[in-house]
Structures are given as C-alpha cells and as structure tokens.
Amino acid sequence: MANLKDIRDRIKSVKAIQQVTSAMKMVAAAKLRRAQERMEQARPYSKRLQGVIENLLPDVDRGMLDLLEMREVKRVGYLVVTSDRGLAGSFNTSVIKKTELEIAEIGKGNSDIFCIGKKGRDYFKKRNYTIIEDHVEFWNELDFNHAVKFGNSIISHFLTGKVDEIRVVYNWFKNVGVQEISLEQLLPLSFSDEIKQYGNRIFEPSKEKIVQSLIPRHLNTQVWKYLLESYASEQAARMVAMENATENAGDMIKSLQLEFNKARQSAITTEMLEIVGGAEALVT
C-alpha cells in the first residue's frame, strides 16, 4: 500500500497541472475566436481572387509572366507552416511528417525549405535539411505585411530559378475539431484543364497589365490565407489538446483520491486492530 503522504503529494501536483492546462485552454479559446473571425473574413476574398485568376489564365500566354513559367521540376521549394509553441496535439508533428514524406520522394538534396514557426525550423535544422529562410516569433502580431514579406522572398526564390516549383504544407482549418494537413502548389500557378470558353472579353487597361498586377497580389493573398488558417488551426488544436489534458487530470485525481481513501481506511483499520489487540492483552 502506497504511503499516504506520497499520494497526497501526487494529488497536489496533478491538481497544479490541471490548473495550468485549463488556463491554457481558456487562452487558446480566446485566441481561437479572434483568429477564426479573421480567417473567415479573409476567405471569400482569396477565393474570389483565385476564381478571377482561373478565369483569366486560359486567356493568358504562359510566356507573358515569369511567374507562370512551367519548368522541368528538378528542385522544389517547400513552405512549411508550423507554430512557435508546442502543446497543441499533433498540430506540428503532422505537418512535419507530411513534409518529410514529400521531401523523401524528391530527395533531401533537391529541396529547399522555408520555415514558418519555430517547431518546424528546429526539427529540420537538426536534421540538416536546406533551410533558406525561417520566420519565427511573429505570430502574436501577425498581419498582412508578414504575408507580403514571406511571399516576396518565396517568389524571388522561384523567379531566380533556384527552385522550379513551390509547394506549401500547412494545417487547413476545417472546424474546431478537425484540422486537415493540406499540400498545395503555389508556383507556378496551375489551373484546371477544362477551359471555359469566353466570347469577347474586355480587359482594362490591358490584359498584360492586369495579369502583372493581379498575380503578385493573388500570391500574397494566398500566403496570408496560409498564415491565417494555420494560426486558427494551432489555437483550435491547442484548445482541444488542453481540454483533453484537463479531463485526464480530472480522472487521475479521482483515482488517486480513491487510492488515498483506501490507504487511509486501511491505516485506520490497522491502528484500531492494534489498539484492540493491546487492550485485550491487558485484560488477560
């Protein structure tokens, strides 16, 4: 039978852990609400912009813009979106696993990584992957300018021919309970083969100018979307993980309490037996 004091100490420490996890859950829930709002406001715009581009591309000659150039894929750049902090269930590990699987296919030597978030950077750095850039510790003041900054450096990496394709691995926010790992090709822009036929369409000021200004804007919006989705997913994953942890701590406290009561009871019983035994010995 375990020592009474040991059990009491353990209950105390589990209770302390429970307090921490439930506080973290609350913080994550508050952050999630804001992140979700922001993401949902941004979604229609990026979707529509994508729609416009998809409608536009069949009309466009790929030679018109370097960003549209299709090259033989020898080297691939990966934009990997993770978080700075852990304790969010499988949020980071699943992105990392997916990226590793992808990279294994094309070869470690043929891949460049752009790491967003500390967790991904630490992991890939330790394993000697080629990290071109990393961006960490910005999540708390996340705004559109970050997307522009990251977007520009990725775009220039593609334009200078260092990689022939850019792929993005991130957590797509389906709902609070479900975040899906998503792999998307960012560059060169691809579009579905079914070409909608358009009659006479007008482009003002000109088709070239529209393509030239629309596509960089589209890419920045895409990067912004990845950041927002991942941030909301992170908070949701952490909230769920911390809720589970709080619940588990509750279960643990319950069973420890039971064990404690049993131990206490048996200690009392032993003591009583001793007293009764002692008293009887005196009588006889």
Binding site: A42, N55, K209
Partner: protein, 132 residues
C-alpha cells in the same frame, strides 16, 4: 429596368448588394458605368467613388482600388477596401489628409512621394464620398 447581381468583396468583409440597376466605378482611365447585359471582362480600378443604383435609389461608396470582374451571371468587385458614404469616419479622413499634406510639403527623401500622393488621394476621396 433590368437588373443584375452585384457583390463587393474585400479582405475583411463581403457586401452583397443583391440585384442592382446600375454601377459606376472608377477605372484607371476615368469612370465607367455598368448596366445589365454588359460585355464580360476584367477591369482594374483606381481610388475613387462607386455609385450604385438599387431600385432607383442611389448609394455611394469609397474604394481604394482593386479589380472588377463582370460575367454573364454577375458583377463582382475585388477591392482592398470599401466604405459606405455614411460609415466613413470624416475626422479620421481629415487627419490623414492633414498628415499627407504636411508630408508632401516637407518633401524629404525618406518619404516615398508616390505613397504620399496615394494617401492624399485616398483621404480626399473619402471626404468627397462622405459629403454625398
């Protein structure tokens, strides 16, 4: 009068105007009007005023530029920002106008001249639309 579907989408919100009669937008080379059965196309927009006629009633909005796509089904505006004439914060617009004017006069090397012009344009446009 025939109508068409009109929507305004920005990175922070979506305004569905429903069926409208007429839309006037600020194009790069001057304003243009759109009515039902317009030719399809994609047109870049500059800073300026958008006028929408819904059921004979006129609405005015200020935008800071973007694109519009016109298809057979609908017309949609993809703009960076849009403000209804009665939700414009005129005090804020005035402040940014003053700031832009001061900067323009200073004309220092650190300040990007084109950016100052743009913010001046935006502030003037907001004030103009707010007076509607």
């Amino acid at each position: 009068m025939s109508t068409f579907q009109f929507e305004i989408v920005t990175p922070t919100r979506t305004l569905d105007k429903g069926q409208v009669n007429y839309v006037r937008c600020p194009g790069m080379d001057g304003s243009f009007g759109v009515m039902a059965n317009h030719l399809e196309g994609i047109i870049a927009l500059s800073i300026g005023e958008i006028k929408v006629t819904i059921d004979g009633k006129e609405e005015y909005l200020a935008t800071s530029g973007g694109y519009t796509e016109i298809t057979d089904e609908k017309m949609q505006l993809l703009v960076e920002s849009v403000e209804d004439s009665d939700e414009i914060d005129t005090d804020r617009a005035k402040r940014s106008l003053d700031r832009a004017q001061v900067r323009k006069e200073k004309h220092s090397l650190e300040i990007d001249g084109a950016r100052v012009e743009l913010s001046l344009d935006r502030a003037l446009n907001r004030l103009r639309v707010a007076r509607r």
